[in-house]
């Protein structure tokens, strides 16, 4: 019988039923609090706190439930794909929250919708020292930048073939084709979702293909969205990489181009202490992969395609649902499409 995810007693019954997925020896789960988190718009994330009762006593449980909105997801990636990425990374060196369960039994799906359960890792996404230009924080900012680059290198070192990620993520024909494949596959997806022709998309895709780099060193697991606001930090280290919605197999430059705020430009007394040239040199030292500024710039210019893909995906939901479409989907289909188109116009060389 469907139950509401906000109903702590009902969630207790669900998790007790699925106790074997939560750890060994758990006889019962008592949920003390369930609350929807406000960060992130593409899917719903709920925090579930409770107590696991075992024969040896009780221990706290901190879990997260992820599911699509009733209207679906803003992004085109399937919920199960997101779960599979977490699941398949569990036995690798990449720090991620452990994925525990993908609930497919209609009798146990909260509110009758698919959902997955994962551990919730203690820490914070917020690094207060990143903002501003206080020289007192230079060392902290550089250390955090290196930590982030270290974790990206760890992601890129995953043997994605061996752990099965090639079965859940699209794989380009070759490393040399990674960039062109990104353009073609994303354009094809957008064309399926759009209900109107887009000359801007055609022009930008053509321009990007013409300039597509062919010197990617390897095909690696890429995280996609990464950086400040996306990862869980504790005591100066990333303890969990979060948000794998744009994960793919591709060029490591794809990830470096999407780093959010974690490569600050620090110049003191005319000398640059840190910036992208230093970060790329550090990344090369840690990963063994060369990423040129030119290849980085190409992937930055291609980001408009990724953004357009999820904004028109929202637009498709708006057309399907009409007045029942959540306002946030309508806003994404409208204002975010505009921002994506501005990026594509720049990539295409449209005069400003």
């Amino acid at each position: 019988m469907p139950f509401a995810l906000g109903d702590a007693a009902a969630v207790s019954r669900w998790l007790t039923h699925r106790a074997a997925h939560l750890g060994s020896g758990i006889d019962e789960v008592r949920v003390t609090d369930v609350a929807q988190l406000s960060r992130g718009v593409s899917r719903e994330t709920w925090a579930v706190d409770g107590i696991a009762v075992t024969v040896n006593g009780e221990r706290p449980l901190a879990l997260a439930v992820r599911r699509d909105h009733p209207a679906g997801s803003v992004i085109p990636t399937a919920l199960e794909t997101e779960y599979d990425v977490y699941r398949l990374l569990r036995d690798t060196a990449v720090p991620v929250a452990a994925a525990l369960l993908y609930e497919t039994d209609p009798a146990w799906q909260p509110d009758g919708r698919s959902a997955y359960l994962r551990e919730r890792v203690e820490g914070t996404w917020y690094l207060p020292f990143l903002a501003g230009d206080d020289p007192e924080h230079d060392a902290l900012r550089i250390a955090a930048s290196k930590e982030h680059l270290d974790k990206l290198a760890t992601v890129h070192a995953v043997d994605w073939r061996a752990c099965g990620l090639g079965d859940v993520l699209d794989v380009p024909p070759s490393a040399a084709d990674a960039a062109a494949h990104l353009v073609r596959s994303t354009r094809a997806l957008i064309d399926e979702l759009l209900d109107e022709p887009s000359p801007l998309l055609a022009e930008a895709a053509g321009a990007l293909l013409e300039r597509a780099p062919r010197d990617a060193p390897d095909l690696v697991l890429c995280k996609g969205t990464n950086g400040h606001g996306e990862e869980v930090w504790r005591d100066g280290h990333i303890v969990a990489l979060s948000d794998w919605e744009l994960a793919r197999i591709g060029d490591p430059a794809y990830d470096l181009a999407q780093v959010q705020e974690m490569v600050p430009e620090i110049v003191r007394d005319g000398r640059r202490l840190w910036g992208w040239p230093e970060a790329l040199a550090y990344y090369r030292e840690r990963s063994g992969y060369e990423v040129s500024l030119e290849r980085l710039e190409w992937y930055r210019s291609a980001y408009g395609l990724l953004q357009l893909a999820y904004s028109v995906h929202s637009g498709a939901a708006v057309r399907r649902l009409g007045s029942r479409a959540p306002l946030r989907f309508l806003w994404t289909a409208y204002e975010i499409t505009h921002h994506a188109e501005r990026k594509l116009a720049a990539a295409a060389g449209v005069p400003a």
Binding site: P197, A202, L330, A333, Y334, E335, A345, P351
Partner: protein, 152 residues
Amino acid sequence: MISPTAQDLLTGVIATLEDVLAPALTDENAQSTCRTAAQLLRSAAARLAGEQAALHADNADLRALLGTWTLHLPSTAGEVVTQALADPPVPTLPALEVLEADARALRAALVAAIDSVPERDAPFRHDVRDYLARAHERQRPWLQDAFTGPRR
């Protein structure tokens, strides 16, 4: 961008006011204000959809009425009426739905043309990019300049 349309935006905001915000507010006055706002937006949506055609038909109706009676009115009124009936405005724009259908056909043709000319430096492709810049400028007032506030 044709879709989402202005009507889509109004429909979405009305539903949000009535189904999301009003029920979540505890203050009765605020709830009532939400319902009033939704009511006004419903009227605005209907007015946007029909006002141009209604005004055109209404003006034609008035012209017919006044035209019938001009010569039978006292001279001072007759002069005012004659002046008002002079130089009726010529309709210059097709209906929005007609323009949107035309845009879809033209843009589909342009996409096919772009895909058939892969050389980015071809004169045609240069002209395409110049057109795209002009197209953006035409939509700038509502797609860029109107986004002045915090968005969430």
